[in-house]
């Protein structure tokens, strides 16, 4: 049975989180689509307010800015709180043009108590051109469960083929339950399923177009006590690339260029034959005087 992890969005500022540690998969829910929770707005919302089109390099630059602006260090010289991404497994589930991208994330949290509170996982999925997420579908799914939050940004036109569309991105915020255990490393496992749809791909002689997914951006967002009260901060979990299995490729059927002439000729020939059938039937119709 699939465990669907979703992210909830909250509408009001000042998210209170608890950082739960467990060794089991947690179902999280997706909340109201379209708005971002506190963290001075979603990262993607900040990005798309300044950029029209999603590019990896400009997004990375913005992410670095956000991380330095919202550091979780108490003092400038302090080390960042340690969080380790111990495992990331990605799979594409389903067949055809409508599938789910499943991401199973394992986080390791050290036993020392954090000054951090109410942490949540933030996953940013920068979708390759060729696939899109349907914002209305995600909104419907949100209303069917309890979700933390989700937002779809960029080119969300559902109808255009990939040659005429730009990339889009999905930001997912996840709540998770925890139980504080002292003295031992805590392991947290979260699974997120994101329904995606294929756009009509550019023509290719093989008849299939391959769309490769990159590694999602995984962050942890927490609240911490600052000099002027509670504030939000961001941590990037450290990870060992060898333990991350992120290669996901979606083969999408596409038109074949060499069909063009035959298809055009036969299409119009059939249209004319059909026209002749109707015209002859009409002309031969015995209308009474």
């Amino acid at each position: 049975m699939r465990i669907i992890g979703w992210i909830c969005w909250r509408w009001k500022m000042g998210i209170i989180w608890k950082f739960f540690f467990c060794c089991c998969f947690i179902v999280v829910t997706l909340s109201i689509y379209g708005d971002c929770l506190s963290l001075e707005d979603c990262i993607l919302k900040s990005y798309f307010s300044k950029n029209e089109v999603l590019t990896d390099s400009s997004f990375q630059d913005l992410l670095q800015d956000e991380l330095s602006k919202f550091s979780c260090k108490l003092l400038p010289g302090d080390p960042n709180p340690q969080l380790t991404l111990s495992g990331l497994e990605r799979r594409l589930i389903g067949e055809g043009s409508h599938r789910h991208l499943s991401s199973t994330i394992q986080l390791q949290v050290p036993p020392q108590s954090f000054p951090l509170q109410s942490c949540k996982l933030v996953m940013i999925e920068r979708l390759p051109s060729g696939v899109f997420a349907d914002p209305f579908e995600l909104d419907h799914l949100f209303h069917h469960g309890a979700y933390a939050g989700i937002g779809v940004f960029g080119d969300t036109n559902l109808e255009l083929p990939s040659v005429s569309s730009n990339r889009s991105a999905v930001e997912i915020h996840m709540n998770f339950e925890h139980s504080i255990s002292s003295g031992a490393m805590s392991e947290l496992g979260i699974r997120i399923d994101l329904p995606l749809h294929a756009r009509y791909a550019p023509l290719h002689e093989s008849g299939y177009s391959e769309v490769a997914f990159g590694t999602p951006d995984l962050l942890v967002s927490c609240s911490m006590e600052g000099s002027s009260g509670m504030r939000s901060c961001l941590i990037v979990p450290s990870h060992d690339s060898n333990r991350l299995r992120t290669d996901v490729v979606w083969k999408i059927p596409c038109g074949i260029m060499s069909h063009t002439n035959v298809v055009s000729v036969v299409t119009f020939a059939t249209a004319f034959v059909s026209t002749l059938v109707i015209v002859f039937a009409s002309v031969l119709y015995p209308k009474p005087r």
């Binding site: 055809g96 043009s97 059927p253 059938v277 119709y285 009474p288």
Partner: protein, 422 residues
């Protein structure tokens, strides 16, 4: 008409209404408890657009809302009363279509039992009762088209023109009926006021007088006026967003995604390439030729002309979705009493051919969309078969239809009657 007959129509309408109510309630349950919705995605678009309108915003802020603001206005109570308000309106229109079918056939002196069977063809058609209860707005358009026919049959030209202008604003495709309506408003068949004297002399002057008769000019001016009034009003309110989404999108739509149209694969393969003038003309020609031939042959039998035109319009269109079929399903009952088609085996043969071609297409569509197999060529060939099936069915209908004009020619001694309908 016997005392029992109205009771049968009443029972039929009441039974159909109860069934539709049950479907709407079931739809609410399915939407709440199952991942796959009963409600059409388009209904959610209408509802969202209505909510935006209720809050003072443009309905076109809702992406993929490509309808008249009138539809969003009609669904304003979705936000205030209940989200299913629109489904009730559409299902009520669906029942109204059934009643109008009965009214038209009775006026054309069709026997009672045949009237009721024809009404059943509409009311008991699974496609019909699911389309309204799922929240599709086409029953409203169908009801308007049939009301226009009733107005014309009763000589109410101005009323027909008002509704015609409105329905073209609402859904554009009824523009194809303009020429047959103008043709049928022949002063020999329908006259306002005292009418004109019949004359045995036929010269340029009488020809011009006949072509630009009072009835035709009035119909054209009133319907055109209503259309441009609506367009102007909503352009004033919603600017280019309205014009682009509600009007221009439909006129220029060329969807490369798979649909029943024979042109879908051609459009996909050519997508992004600028088509030459010759290529554009070639794709336009079959539709134009068929429409003109059908109009010139069958205009006087207006319901039959509408039916054939609509089937042809849908079949030769660049995009065909299943909801378009209801445009001619509502006209089919109006022509059946004059068809010599026997159920066995001509009728069943036509149904089998049309449904079979559709199912064949759906099979390949399923393999492409839900199994991810590259079957574009097979799917395209299935669309060719579907077009040929449509043309064949049309040819059978034409061959077996008894010509029955809705108006008889006015005799000179009857010039004061104004209209003599059949």
């Amino acid at each position: 008409m016997t005392a029992k007959a109205p009771m049968n129509l009443r029972r039929l309408l009441i039974g159909s209404a109860v069934f539709r109510l049950a479907l709407i309630l079931y739809g609410e349950w399915q939407d709440a408890h199952m991942e796959v919705r009963y409600t059409d995605v388009d209904y959610l678009v209408f509802s969202d657009a209505a909510s935006l309108m209720a809050s003072g915003s443009s309905p076109y802020k809702r992406t993929t809302y490509r309808y008249s603001p009138l539809l969003a206005f009609l669904l304003l109570p979705n936000s205030v009363l209940h989200r299913s308000w629109g489904k009730f309106i559409f299902s009520a229109s669906d029942l109204l279509v059934g009643y109008f079918i009965y009214k038209i056939l009775k006026q054309r002196k069709v026997a009672e039992d045949l009237c009721l069977y024809s009404v059943m063809v509409w009311l008991l058609n699974p496609f019909t009762f699911t389309i309204g209860t799922r929240g599709n707005c086409e029953p409203i358009v169908c009801a308007m088209i049939l009301w226009i026919l009733i107005c014309l049959m009763n000589g109410k030209i101005i009323q027909a023109a008002v509704w015609y202008g409105l329905v073209v604003h609402f859904r554009i495709y009824p523009i194809i009926y303009s020429l047959p309506i103008i043709l049928v408003l022949n002063p020999r068949y329908i006259q306002l006021g005292n009418g004109m004297e019949a004359s045995t002399r036929y010269n340029l002057w009488t020809a011009a007088k006949s072509m630009f008769s009072k009835e035709r000019v009035l119909f054209g001016l009133v319907s055109g006026g209503i259309f441009f009034l609506c367009t102007g009003l909503f352009f004033h309110l919603y600017q280019w967003e309205f014009l682009n989404e509600a009007l221009l999108y439909h006129l220029t739509r060329a969807d490369p995604r798979h649909n029943f149209s024979v042109y879908f694969y051609h459009i996909y393969l050519q997508y992004g390439r600028q088509l030459s003038l010759v290529e554009k003309l070639i794709s336009f020609l079959p539709q134009s030729i068929v429409q003109l031939v059908l109009i010139s042959t069958f205009a006087q039998d207006l319901p039959f002309c509408f039916f054939l035109q609509t089937v042809a319009f849908v079949a030769f269109n660049k995009v065909i979705t299943a909801q378009y079929f209801v445009w001619f399903f509502c006209l089919l009952p109006l022509i059946l009493p004059w068809s010599d088609m026997k159920l066995k085996w001509e009728g069943l043969g036509c149904v089998g051919l049309w449904m079979g071609a559709q199912l064949h297409w759906l099979l390949w569509g399923y393999l492409l969309e839900f199994k991810g197999q590259n079957v574009f060529l097979q799917l395209w060939m299935a669309s060719l078969v579907f077009l040929l099936a449509n043309a064949s069915v049309m040819a059978v209908f034409i061959r077996l239809q008894r010509f029955s004009p809705i108006f008889l020619q006015i005799k000179v001694s009857d010039s004061k009657s104004g209209v003599k309908s059949q």
